[in-house]
């Protein structure tokens, strides 16, 4: 291949990488491209003969622009999530966004996302119940209905076709969050009364803290790269030197 056509191919690759990295701040993007370009040229110059196949191989080994950009974005978000200085009210958002993105590409990410959704979902239900108990005292509560269904949330007031909107558990494995487990018939009994207010606020705070801490720990522990022994590369996951 002539030098001109090699230059064109390298430029074309860099242009694709530039487009793929559109979410990055411009100086960081420019620096990254410049570095990758320099890297490709080093590789090209080390080859005795540069054919189209050799060039394709080099590009493949450097990485597909879209995959590189996606990996970069995921890592940046996870990094932000574990070290976030965001106000505590925004942390769920940062953690949910990061784990959702991570969950698209890995099983560990999916687990992290589901745990985060369930944890913050419980936080919301406990908080709303504690807050709304004085407003709807006969409808909001912790309810025990037929078929041993234990539900926390808003009861529709019916005995036949009773539904509780919030979260429900029914042994052995039924669990519903931010919804209803379906109508149940027969007696329904409230368990906590006004104790729901302090207990609800307390559980809400506990779920919030536990979810935030667990998700951050989980990201630091399991955010593994595909092709190498991840924890060894994760400087931030090793304890600080004493």
């Amino acid at each position: 291949m002539s030098t001109n056509s090699v230059t064109e191919s390298v430029d074309e690759y860099c242009k694709r990488l530039w487009k793929a990295l559109h979410k990055l701040p411009t100086p960081e993007r420019e620096d990254f491209i410049r570095e990758v370009r320099s890297h490709i040229w080093e590789r090209v110059e080390a080859e005795p003969e540069v054919t189209a196949d050799v060039l394709t191989k080099i590009f493949r080994e450097v990485g597909e622009p879209k995959e590189l950009a996606s990996e970069y974005r995921t890592q940046a978000m996870l990094h932000e999530a574990t070290r976030s200085d965001a106000p505590w009210v925004l942390r769920p958002w940062v953690l949910l966004r990061a784990t959702l993105r991570w969950g698209v590409t890995s099983l560990a990410g999916l687990v992290a996302f589901l745990v985060t959704v369930i944890g913050y979902g419980c936080t919301v239900v406990f908080y709303l119940c504690a807050l709304l108990k004085p407003v709807f005292p006969t409808h909001i509560g912790l309810w025990l209905a037929a078929q041993h269904t234990l539900s926390l949330g808003y009861w529709n007031g019916r005995l036949s076709g009773a539904e509780v909107y919030g979260m429900s558990v029914r042994p052995p494995i039924s669990f519903v969050l931010l919804g209803t487990l379906g109508p149940t018939g027969g007696p329904i009994r409230e368990l906590l009364g006004y104790w729901l207010i302090p207990i609800g606020f307390l559980c809400s705070a506990l779920f919030f803290l536990a979810t935030s801490m667990f998700t951050r720990w989980f990201i630091a522990r399991f955010n593994r790269k595909k092709k190498w022994t991840a924890s060894l590369f994760h400087a931030s996951s090793i304890p600080q030197s004493s």
Partner: protein, 105 residues
């Protein structure tokens, strides 16, 4: 850790780091991703970098360990050496030599 360790002796540019990893260990790395990791290590303050015109026609970005980076690497190395020693002791009975001996006993 391997990337940090490859910078222990001197400053290196990306391709040199890759070659150091390739030659000394079985840690294969997607090349472009190396720069993502280096970028993150830099954000964490573990490495520093500088563009140098090496006279090759293409400037190279050299990386070296910061003081914090060296301390962190030492801590990681201590952790790893202890970990592998403990694991080695645990796996010792599984080694061929010991197994043969146990057959004769």
């Amino acid at each position: 850790m391997a990337i940090l360790a490859s910078l222990w002796t001197d400053k290196k540019y990306g391709l040199e780091i890759l070659r150091a990893l390739d030659g000394k260990s079985s840690l294969a790395l997607a090349e472009g991703t190396l720069y993502l990791i280096l970028n993150r290590l830099k954000t964490d303050g573990l490495v520093e970098s500088e563009w140098v015109d090496a006279g090759t026609g293409h400037p190279r970005k050299y990386y070296w360990l910061t003081k914090v980076g060296k301390e962190r690497l030492r801590a990681m190395a201590r952790f790893w050496i202890q970990f592998s020693a403990d694991l080695g002791a645990l796996l010792e009975p599984l080694s061929d030599r010991k197994e043969k001996r146990s057959v004769y006993q």
